[in-house]
């Protein structure tokens, strides 16, 4: 129980306040003194995470490649589909885990070069965007 004195238009009121629940610190505003850009402090990540391009890929621009060796579970788009950067275009299973492959740029699916069930190497082309 906390005692507070509140003054409204020169008239003071004594009130008692009971704190029922500790506030979750995650809900309160940061106490950091300086405003910090979002690039420094990441907001909770909502967008899908694009897998990094394999460094040694010989694939040309617009080619979506597998970031690791594994089995193609599904190609999630078809030739002629329009895709935006960040759309999921394929799923690879490796190490008992599905890895989702996202488009890195906007475009139209020009060619699909892998099919479900197929084993692919790291850096292998899955499809081409134009």
């Amino acid at each position: 129980m906390k005692q507070l004195r509140i003054t409204v238009d020169g008239k003071s009121y004594d009130v008692s306040v009971e704190v029922l629940e500790e506030s979750n610190p995650a809900d309160t505003a940061p106490a950091a003194p300086a405003p910090v850009r979002s690039a420094v402090v990441r907001a909770p990540v909502a967008a899908p995470i694009a897998a990094p391009k394999p460094a040694a890929s010989a694939a040309g621009p617009g080619t979506v490649v597998s970031p690791l060796a594994g089995k193609v579970v599904s190609i999630d788009v078809a030739v002629g589909d329009a895709v935006n950067a960040g759309d999921r275009v394929a799923t690879i299973e490796a190490m008992k885990m599905n890895t989702f492959i996202y488009a890195e740029s906007d475009g139209t699916v020009a060619e699909v070069t892998a099919e479900p069930g197929q084993m692919v190497d790291e850096g292998a082309a899955l499809l081409k965007l134009s």
């Binding site: 910090v36 995470i49 594994g70």
Partner: protein, 517 residues
């Protein structure tokens, strides 16, 4: 009876000359390009009015090739101590307007003197690199100057945090001073770092490349792993530096700036339960888990773009500064590979030096299989993680979220590697290998003798999975502290960290261990 005004005037003039650096014309040219001067950078780094300069009136010591007629204010570098967030930090800032910021004997001496002071006073060193390289007129004295700076970098390593900002050219041998420091921040504009530039590479090997490919901030952040933070510009770089320092102690005998909460909060976080997919093949986005665990969702990720299959960074958890090492199952299935091992091992060792507790979040199916990994030395690199964890004496708390398979599980700070407490979610699978692989060895004969080997294999795998795809087998053998709901993780980890903060562990004295580099 007062001081001769002429003396004061001379002092005033000398100060003005030093502060003008390379002169108005060169400063104006810099501003036109949108760049700050060496002094402007320090002014943004430090709280106003707190900068105490060392060696303001220094000049170069070269008397050849016409240099004797030239003035080099400060010998091309501004050094001193100022305050950040109420704590003193030593900094040097190379002045590109003075002879291209080239390093001569006095320039190097100023940097070395500053580092010596910082080491003794126990304060971090922040170096702003913007230099054309060695001052050719000073020949081997320049080279010797670099050597002395490197030596000081190494002496200070592990004593005070050293942070480098690459905000201009940093080429050849000069790149090795930042490389010896703990963290490198690099600006996207106007900064290049390389040992041999594209022209030298072409002349000696015929390979055609670009500065973008080998020396840019993006290349170093994502490919080479030399840089820990990419800044859009100089102001952003200073913000990152402030943020980073806010998690670090001033030296290795101080605690990091914990801000413990008066009362720990144990409210369950239902979002954490929602983040765990029912299908074990669906990846968890570990960055979302981290955002829920840390105070205000405030996580300073280190080397965000390099080896993103592991996530490392600094945060506070209910006020306690903590270093997080977490598998990222959304990328490369969360496997450990060469780069991920190097990245994590270095971060673990940094935290250990500066008394920062470690929280390890485990969802790892194994080391990444592949010819390139084996031939690239995944044994040697993966061993760095084992070494780094086992050699660390800070509080170590591990949470097994889902997969914890084989050697990769040990490399993620299992109890055996010295974790003080290990918690497991009900989804945890602690096993020497995955079910399919295990039954092929355990029931090799039975499967071969079966009428339908594939079906037999699947049945044995299911049986194995039912038994081992839970944390209770390991819990029954007292290999973990407790099984907890994901929603309880923040509260329990906070308490585990607080309980373990007073940990003291002594090891036999030695020069240093022999980490497999």
């Amino acid at each position: 009876m007062s001081i001769d005004p002429a003396l004061l005037e001379r002092l005033e003039n000398a100060r003005n000359t030093a502060e003008a650096g390379g002169g108005e014309a060169r400063i104006a040219k810099r501003h036109e390009k949108g760049l700050l001067t060496a002094r402007e950078r320090l002014a943004r780094l430090f709280e106003p009015g707190t900068f105490m300069e060392f060696g303001k009136h220094a000049q170069h010591a070269c008397h050849q090739f016409g240099m004797e007629k030239k003035s080099m204010p400060g010998d091309g570098v501004v050094t001193g101590v100022g305050y950040i967030d109420g704590r003193p930090v030593a900094a040097f800032s190379q002045d590109f307007t003075v002879g291209g910021g080239a390093l001569g004997r006095i320039h190097a001496k100023k940097i070395c003197d500053l580092m010596e002071y910082a080491g003794q006073a126990g304060m971090p060193v922040f170096g702003i690199n913007d230099s054309g390289g060695a001052r050719i007129q000073e020949g081997e004295e320049s080279l010797s100057g670099y050597g002395q700076v490197f030596f000081k970098n190494v002496l200070l390593s592990g004593v005070v945090p050293q942070i480098s900002l690459i905000a201009g050219p940093c080429a050849g041998g000069a790149a090795y001073s930042p490389a010896l420091t703990d963290f490198l921040i690099m600006t996207r504009s106007n900064a290049q770092m390389f040992i041999c530039g594209p022209e030298v590479i072409k002349a000696s090997t015929g390979q055609v490349t670009t500065m973008e490919e080998i020396g840019s901030a993006d290349a170093h952040a994502a490919i080479s792993g030399n840089v820990h933070f990419v800044a859009e510009d100089e102001d952003h770089a200073i913000e990152i530096a402030h943020k980073l320092l806010s998690f670090l102690p001033s030296n290795n005998v101080s605690d990091p700036p914990h801000k413990p909460m008066e009362n720990l909060v144990f409210n369950p976080d239902p979002v954490m339960n929602e983040l765990v997919p029912a299908d074990p093949r669906e990846p968890i986005d570990v960055k979302r888990v981290i955002a829920q665990l840390v105070d205000h969702g405030d996580f300073l990720e280190v080397q965000e773009h390099f080896a993103p299959n592991i996530v490392v960074g600094l945060c506070r958890i209910q006020g306690l500064v903590t270093g997080i090492v977490a598998n990222q199952p959304a990328i490369k299935a969360g496997t450990l590979d060469i780069d991920a091992s190097d990245k994590a091992a270095r971060f673990i060792r940094f935290c250990n030096i500066f008394n920062i507790p470690l929280l390890t979040l485990v969802d790892v199916p194994g080391f990444l299989p592949g010819v390139a990994q084996e031939r690239g030395g995944i044994i040697r690199h993966g061993a760095k993680m084992l070494f780094a964890y086992a050699a660390s004496t800070v509080p170590k708390i591990t949470v097994i979220m889902r997969k914890a398979y084989g050697g990769a599980y040990l490399a993620m700070c299992s109890a055996d590697m010295g974790a003080d407490m290990v918690f497991a979610w009900p989804t945890a699978e602690i096993a020497v290998m995955g079910a399919d692989g295990a039954v092929k060895i355990l029931y090799k004969r039975e499967i071969a003798a079966a009428e339908d080997p594939a079906q037999a294999s699947a049945e044995y795998a299911k049986e194995y999975r039912d038994k081992f795809a839970s944390p209770y087998q390991a819990a029954a053998k007292a290999m973990i502290t407790d099984v907890i709901e994901p929603s309880q993780t923040r509260g329990i980890v906070s308490m585990a960290l607080r309980n373990t903060l007073s940990k003291r562990e002594t090891r036999p004295p030695k020069k240093h261990g022999n980490i497999p580099l």
